[in-house]
Assembly symmetry: C2
Homo-oligomer: 214 residues x 2
DNA sequence: GTCTATACCGCGATAGAC
DNA sequence: GTCTATCGCGGTATAGAC
């Protein structure tokens, strides 16, 4: 980590900007918009409050900039399956991998992000729509495209089935990790994935028996 | 301004309490916890701020009392199907009715309630768990019990299928009515219900022996 | 650009009259 | 119990030194 000996107002400002955004992310995701103070953001970023205001016009501007940045950079593709080779296997395997991956990546800060998007959707409806546009929609398109590419699944409406998959997994993640109620609802992760994939892959004409992963 | 000549501490207090809770509901559901002020609650209830404090210890106590009351009274059974006679029809019909009813009743204030439960789940985790306990879980139990009672559906795990139904519908409601993104995701309500019910009710000709874990 | 210090206001909560 | 009026704190945002 190198530091210029010359003018302190060098290209430090971009580093400060990043620090402010990082501090703002930490505070906003933890407490929501109204409960987060500019003092705490400045403290989390290790800068003064005036510095925050020199980089962002006001609290609302900072919040919008942060959320849009997170939607377009950090969490875009958060649900993507890491191994495209997996998609060439049998649909049962590929879908199971995709579902497991969605639930795993959800356990990061993405669920805090979803919580604040939902929680602030009344005050910032445009950000809620940007979330669907840049995060939910790409996942939906990817899943739908995969489902449609597998003709042997014989799905009449891949769009709807994609919605069922994503809805099931997102709802599961919210109940378990946002609402922290794993002990109240009885269904565990792997059981739910098994049954979800089975519903989709086992078709009337095929009469196949289900083999569970061991 | 009419006033009782007798003791002013009549049974007016309970009416005031109801007015305060109604005002608090309106304000909290619209703005969330931190952004809502006691002044606005008092104004919405048409009482003075001191009166609010004479009925509730502080803002947090009022919020908790309101949310617990809503969970146990107003929104309990919000998803219940209004016509129990419907359950005796064919499963396709009954499930379709149940799904449509869930999406209809969701369009009331219940989704504002879900939004604040999710949004404040970091600050009030106990309320989030109470929501799952008193609202989500009863719906889950009802759906699971119905699915299990219909042996012809041959469902290996009614618990998981109930989760898939509820997850699909709740996620749909959140995307459309909370995140206000009906135009971004392509699947409409009836199409989604059709495909969801079809996945569940149309079974392979041979019996399904899928079980993931004992 | 970055800091310290501050102006200004609104919020939660209370005091005291009635 | 209910009101008006107020206190004290902490919030956003800014001024001015460096």
């Amino acid at each position: 980590m190198e530091k210029r000996r010359a003018n302190s107002s060098d290209r430090q400002s971009s580093e400060k900007t990043e620090a402010i955004l990082a501090g703002a992310m930490q505070e906003f995701l933890a407490g929501g918009y109204a409960a987060t103070t500019m003092d705490r953001i400045a403290s989390a970023a290790s800068v003064s409050k005036a510095t925050v205001y020199s980089h962002f016009q006001d609290k609302e501007t900072l919040f919008i900039a942060l959320i849009e940045r997170l939607a377009q950079e950090k969490f875009r593709g958060a649900f993507n399956s890491p191994d495209p080779q997996m998609l060439e296997k049998e649909p049962e395997i590929a879908l199971r991998c995709l579902a497991a991956n969605m639930l795993d990546t959800s356990q990061t800060h993405l669920l805090d992000f979803i919580r604040i998007i939902i929680g602030e959707s009344g005050r910032f409806p445009a950000l809620a729509r940007a979330f669907v546009q840049h995060i939910e929609k790409p996942v939906h398109d990817e899943v739908r495209q995969y489902l449609a590419s597998r003709a042997e699944l014989k799905l009449a409406d891949p769009d709807s089935v994609a919605q069922i998959i994503i809805g099931t997994l997102v709802h599961f993640s919210i109940v378990h990790h946002v609402l922290q109620s794993s002990d109240i609802l009885p269904v565990e992760r792997d059981r739910l994935i098994d049954n979800l994939i089975t519903l989709i892959t086992i078709q009337p004409e095929k009469s196949r028996t289900c083999q569970s992963q061991g």
